[in-house]
Amino acid sequence: MSHASTSKRRGFPNPIAWIGRSTIGLLSEVGKLTNFAVRIMAAAFSPSWNFAQIWKQVIAIGFYSLPVVGLSAVFIGAALALNVYTGGNRFGAEQFVPNIVALGITRELGATITGLMLAGRVSAGIAAEIGAMKVTEQIDALKTLSANPFRYLYAPRFLAACLTLPILVFVSDIIGIMGGWLVSVFGLDFDSTTYLRNTVDFLTMEDIVVGLIKAVVFGAVIATMGCYQGSKSKAGATGVGRAATLSMVGAAVLVLAANYMMSTLFVNIGI
């Protein structure tokens, strides 16, 4: 074969082969991630919990995420109130601002925004930490010292994320509603007492619980993705950086996909 034709073939890969390779690659990746998730869950739900590690992760994942979660929620709540007011104004429905802000935040935005922010802060952080441990042979060292990384490293992060995400989402709900209240009362001339009474009267327990259930799933997704990408990190700063990026992107997409699927489920079962 001539050199020219070889170059041409390299420049234009066979599209069928490319689709085949990509599909096999994707399925293989989904299989590996699922296998990894099952192993994390098996470790997380077996009763020898490492409480010291779990508590450490609760502080790292939960407590230190409060500022970013609070700031995101207040701005989302404020923007939502403004948009609902402007849109509702077109057909005289601006009085529904408190109801729609409360519903939008508790059922959807509180959990989703918290999930997305933590996909960045927590999932990428976990991937970078585990990735750095992998490339400095600390994971191998754990194994030789008879500590199972799934039990010692991954399960505490998984449990801590599943436990703290609902608390963070609850905080996000309150601060998000407060963001809407701030804009409505100080910018749109709503009466403070009426706004708050409308919010409290309108919200049901189901609205809040729906967001909290989503939060548990998002916690599982965020921690699993971080641990998975970190555990297969390649050597060097590039490898660890790539693990963090893949983890953040993967967790964010899965959070949004899981959110849609759970919203559909909850609507179908009438919650």
Binding site: M133, Q138, D140, K143, L145, S146
Partner: protein
Amino acid sequence: MTETTSPILQLKNVEKHFGSNRVLRDVNLDVERGSSLVILGGSGSGKSVMLKCALGLMTPTAGQILFDGVDVTHDQGKTREAMRARIGMLFQSGALFDSLTVWQNVAFRLLNAQKMNRSRAKERAIETLKKVRLGASVADLYPAELSGGMQKRVALARAIITEPDLIFFDEPTTGLDPITADAINDLILEQVNALGAATVTITHDMASARKVANEIAMLFEGEIIWRGPASQIYDSGNDYVDQFVHGRADGPIQPAI
């Protein structure tokens, strides 16, 4: 249980392939009790893969690994754990856990696998740190606060705290200046002799090899191409070994650049 005269570790016809790349080719190796075997080899010769197979961190494509006469090749359960309880490992980078203090690193197995109470484990860790010439004052520091030589000593303390029967050393002197490297070699010898443990050291540092080895094996392109007493290493009659031990660029081994 097998006779106590059998080798502590045996690799039988071990192969490890990554796709079409045969990293280990029919490796046969016995490590006798109390002996010190050094495995020489250049970069990419398969040393680290062999070590990982022996430790159970990788599963060989073919062949058998026996520890104290028991086949541990595929076992990831109790047999493997029983083996790991009797081995120590000093990683090339030290592999100390950044998030734990020095004493928690040294006493890691005691705290986690053996569930020893913390005060007793800390006492044992400080005793072991003394053996590697580190004072109790470093016990509460974090690994990042120590020099490279001190980190290697802490890693050595972690490898010997449970008084293992077999200790692996992966490039124990890499990244250290020659004087610190020699001090680490002395410490390794002293502690290994005190324990009576067998050791497998992989290195390309000839000064280190000369100092710690009873026996030397040379790994080249995944095969053991020579094995003999340490005293014969400069008189091996093998062109590959000669080139390696004299550090010559010319010879049958192509430099890895």
